[in-house]
């Protein structure tokens, strides 16, 4: 494999994996706090459409990104309210969120164009590449790692921050206890509901951001099904990452890599039918999940936060 191919693959991998990694880290935080949010796909969708719409109309990328964060947060708030305060079934609530979010995004996509027309096919502002001076001249690493858009750069900071917050700070400690054993956390004076609301909303914000990256940087523009199931792959990656932000990087890289390979093969004009290539990420997700689950069954030590998906209620006669 020659250097330029490697560089190109690396570059695409990073770009393709960015939206996935944002969503995955968001969901890791949500699940670590004990809430299962299957609405990631819906949140990414609304993030993507709102970012593009705002970007198109205001020409401001900053506003676009802010809108995406907001949209994801609001949607997650609905799920949080249902799951935490009303103790609804989290699986169904999350699924509904995806359905609703996807439908809403589609609806908005047909309405938010100029004069109420469609957004599809329009060209809006996009996040350009920002090569970092000096570093981007390095061989291989330079043009791949240091020649990306700002959201990808954002991850370079977010990932270590996410890891540090989770394991080395007081709020991270509290969050973990809320997800593992809410009764204990409550008894120790930690506010379970507040924590869960916070991190669910954070998860939504990051998912929205991931969606924004798709419509502003990766695919540039709005199409139906822009996420192509990435939200679901993110949920799978959380399991793959064993709820750890650093391991999430490996997962996102893996899928970014698959996308990159698909890309290159299609560009090179392969004889493998497009459909088969397109199936790769989904088949890979299943395989990854099977392997990880099987391996975890053997190890039994690290697993999902013990109280994941279980509503917490204090005033129960026990």
């Amino acid at each position: 494999m020659n250097v330029s191919l490697l560089t190109s693959l690396l570059s695409i991998t990073l770009r393709a994996g960015t939206s996935l990694l944002y969503a995955t880290i968001g969901e890791i935080y949500t699940e670590r706090a004990g809430i299962l949010n299957l609405g990631v796909e819906g949140m990414m969708m609304v993030g993507a459409v709102s970012a593009f719409a705002v970007g198109y109309h205001t020409e401001s990328l900053v506003l676009a990104v802010v809108m995406a964060l907001l949209a994801g947060t609001l949607l997650a708030l609905v799920h949080a309210f249902l799951s935490i305060s009303l103790r609804a079934n989290q699986v169904v609530s999350g699924l509904t969120l995806t359905l609703f979010g996807t439908g809403l995004a589609s609806f908005l996509g047909q309405r938010l164009g100029p004069g109420g027309s469609r957004l599809v096919g329009l060209v809006g502002p996009s996040l350009g590449r920002l090569p970092i001076p000096m570093l981007s001249d390095l061989p291989v690493v330079g043009s791949s790692f240091f020649d990306q858009d700002i959201l990808t750069y954002g991850l370079y900071g977010l990932v270590p921050l996410a890891w540090w917050y989770l394991y080395k700070t007081r709020p991270g400690l509290y969050m973990r206890s809320v997800g593992e054993n809410p009764q204990t956390a409550d008894a120790m004076g930690i506010r379970v509901s507040v924590n869960r609301y916070l991190y669910t909303m954070l998860g939504g914000a990051l998912a929205g951001l991931g969606g924004a990256h798709l419509s502003l940087a990766y695919t540039k523009g709005w199409t139906e099904n822009i996420t192509g199931g990435r939200g679901w792959i993110a949920v799978a990656l959380v399991i793959f990452a064993m709820w750890d932000p650093l391991r999430a990087v490996i997962g996102a890289a893996l899928f970014g890599g698959i996308n990159a390979v698909q890309f290159r093969m299609q560009a090179a004009g392969t004889t493998i039918p497009a459909a088969l290539l397109n199936m790769l990420p989904y088949v890979a997700t299943i395989l990854v999940l099977v392997i990880i689950t099987w391996w975890e069954n053997l190890r039994k030590r690290i697993g999902a936060p013990a109280a994941l998906g279980v509503p917490y209620a204090r005033e129960e006669k026990g």
Binding site: N181, T184, D186, A187, M188, R314
Partner: protein, 514 residues
Amino acid sequence: MTESRTRESLLRMKGITKRFPGVLANDHVDLELHEGEVLALLGENGAGKSTLMNVLCGLYRPDEGVITVRGDRVDIQSPRDSYDLGIGMVHQNFMLVETMTVAENVVLGLQGLAFQPELRRVKHRLEELGDQYGLKVDPDAYIWQLSVGEQQRVEILKLLYRDVDILILDEPTAVLTPQEVDDLVEVLRRVVREGKAAIFITHKLREVMLFSDRVTVLRGGKNVATRSTSETSPEELARLMVGREILFRLEKTTCEVGAPVLVVEDLEALNDKGLPALRGVSLTVRAGEIVGIAGVAGNGQRELAEVITGLRYAVGGDVHVGKTCITNCSPLRAIQAGVSHIPEDRVGMGLVGDMSVAENLALKAYRTSELSRGPVLFPRRMKTFAEDLIDGFDIATPGPGTQVKFLSGGNLQKAILARELKACKGLLVAVHPTRGLDVGATETVRELLLEQRDEGTAVLLISEDLDELLEVSDRIAVMFEGEIVGVVPTEEADIDAIGLMMAGEQPEEEGAAG
């Protein structure tokens, strides 16, 4: 025991009332606690002891009543408030996060904890406290690695770390060996020496006499008496607790013992954490006899019951019921071989809460020709079947169609018993069958077990209540760390010897079979 002299009143609860749907848990209860004393809160299950203490530590809000700490009226709205007042509780179910270390658990929720917690200082202080009060524990250990006794030490350390003055312990000795109980007494003594005080909740008379300076008795949600421990007796306390004279012995006839029904040979199994739980257990239970398994919880009893009933995999050894080998067969095979199981986890395993009483009573019998033919089930027959059992076992329920989750604890257990005894064809495995039941229900259950034995069933009884084992079983086997360390016929049983075996010591006197 320290001499009684007038001490400062540390805590006063007046007129505390707490209602739950359908239950008046606390009915205008008064309680007083003085500096430097250990107060026992005595009562049967359901008397309201835990509720009262949960009110004190902010987990429940009382509907009426006033709490005064050191003379000032206080309003406790949350666990944080109670910690601020210097009140802390060690619950029966430990409030610990298993996947975190001791140090992390101790600092959870601590006031003034730094944004980046500096655990070194915490660990140092923990070691200091450990020396001061005799509570040694490794601050870097993960909770799941610790024994139950060590976990309890962590719970107490949590309170001491927060300068708690009023320590509440809920049934602290339920999970301890006799030696660990002695250690706990010593710890409490040291703690109250400096002006702190402790309340411990119990239903065991022996502990009240052993540990406490004063005792408050609750019955049916009301405070019925408060005594100075040195001025009362177990008999008086028992009467106050129960409201009537209780029989300490059941009528037990000697029974003809028949052929071996359950034969367990060299059984080996792992527990949920992958560590050995059974290390070569051999045991025989014959028709018409009750064999009791004594031992502190966590020494393999649960795993033994699970292997016999097909719920756990055995890595070595055999289980035979009658002539059938059921080692590592499914639970279904065990049931077909005649094994009935009264599980430890009543509501979680033995019943389906949202289903009706009739459906729950049919859980074992639905496969038989009585209630079904081929694939088809007959709900009407199920109803009649259920009505028979409800009458026969005197289960209090609005009707066979009521959802079983609305039944009281005693009736839930009766329902399970009814179902299992009806289906029993040789062997009954009963695990903690009277746990959490009031005296009336307990008596009933024990009588039913004896009846079953009189009819020729082999019964394996696992219980943490030594009195119960002595009362009901014909032989007692003691389990310690996954092995049977001694089997004694009940008539010759010596409680002290059994207690020693439970703690892993071999008694030196004669009369204890090894």
